[in-house]
């Protein structure tokens, strides 16, 4: 992943799944997922600790300093990790 390397002069930095991630400009959750090449039908997104409903993917905007979590289902029965 480029991790936003193409935006080397960008000053917008978000925390994505616990790691810093740079963006050139504020973008919607839908745009962020598209950029990450994530199939939005199989994930859930949290933006600044609030769940983002699927219907709001194109309206919720991620900007500087925001915290975003993108999760999916993985194998596990108990205490998988």
């Amino acid at each position: 992943m480029g991790r936003g390397r193409e935006y080397a002069f960008s000053r917008l930095r978000i925390m994505l799944n616990g790691d810093p991630y740079e963006i050139a400009a504020p973008l919607t959750v839908g745009q962020l997922l598209a950029r990450l090449e994530i199939d939005s039908r199989r994930v859930a997104v949290e933006h600044n600790l609030a769940i983002v409903k699927r219907a709001a993917y194109d309206t919720v905007v991620v900007s500087d300093g925001d915290q975003v979590e993108v999760v999916n289902f993985v194998g596990g029965g108990a205490h998988a990790g």
Binding site: L36, L49, N72, F73, V74, G75, G76, H79, A80
Partner: protein, 260 residues
């Protein structure tokens, strides 16, 4: 044998075995094991999407959501806050509002934190979740979870992944005797006889992952576990004979050759 479905929160399952999706040698082996287990419900964990390696296969490519009911779990959560947050994220993936609630209190034993588990159960019930809490084999805690609105209680047989079997059979029996909701023995099953015992004690179902996934041949073990759960359930329904300290002959005492 007449149909004897497991009913959980108004939903019926033909199988009383619930299986996990972790630790299999490969996804194809998991698919085969799931089929052999006869289970209709599988539990899945919720984790951050791996952003550095997008080549990884998605678990959902290997689980037919039309065939299996997905039960997300909060495995790995150590606080009520994290468990509640994880449950909400799981619901948002959009497959169900059910959650196998785990709030771990100790790293070595993975025993639940009862206090946090109760708190998380209350909060999630309030948020309209169907909550299935993984709990200690403690009848008092199970009663409190039921009072808090849990749709079932899931006492451990032994520590997660230990394969030690049902460590306190009497507690499982007491929990079942007192519970107004289904009792699912979750964790500790290592071998088919453990699963059969859980069912003979009156448990409504058994949930396992490592016992199948960690076996040398998970597919054959999955079938063995299916048979064990069915056998144990049938044995429970049939009603066992009382235990007696001395022999009782099962052949007629009269007409023995050579008798006077």
């Amino acid at each position: 044998m007449p149909a004897d479905p497991l009913t959980l929160a108004g939903r019926t399952f033909r199988s009383r075995l619930i299986v996990g999706t972790g630790k299999y040698p490969s996804n194809p082996v998991m698919v085969q094991a799931h089929a052999e287990s006869g289970a209709e419900m599988v539990t899945v964990a919720v984790r951050r999407v791996n952003l550095s390696d997008r080549s990884q296969e998605s678990l959902l490519d290997f689980i037919d959501a039309d065939k299996y009911f997905l039960l997300p779990n909060t495995a790995g959560c150590y606080t009520a806050e994290d468990a509640v947050r994880t449950a909400h994220l799981a619901r948002e993936v959009g497959l169900s509002n059910w959650v196998k609630l785990e709030v771990i209190g100790d790293e070595r034993t993975l025993f639940p934190d009862n206090e946090a588990l109760l708190e998380a159960t209350r909060r999630l019930v309030r948020d309209d979740f169907v909550v299935l809490p993984y709990t200690n084999d403690d009848p008092v805690v199970c009663r409190k979870l039921e009072d808090a609105g849990a749709a079932a209680v899931m006492p451990l047989g032994a520590p997660i992944g230990s394969g030690l079997g049902i460590q306190n059979a009497n507690n499982i029996r007491i929990i079942k005797g007192a519970a107004g909701v289904p009792v699912i023995v979750d964790a500790g099953v290592g071998t088919p006889s453990d699963a059969a015992l859980a069912m003979e004690l009156g448990a409504d179902g058994v949930l396992m992952n490592t016992g199948i996934a960690g076996a040398r041949d998970p597919v054959v073990m999955a079938r063995a576990m299916r048979l064990a759960v069915e056998a144990g359930r049938a044995g429970f329904l049939a009603g066992r004979i009382p235990r007696k300290p001395y022999a009782t002959a099962s052949s007629p005492l009269e007409g023995v050759v050579g008798s006077a």
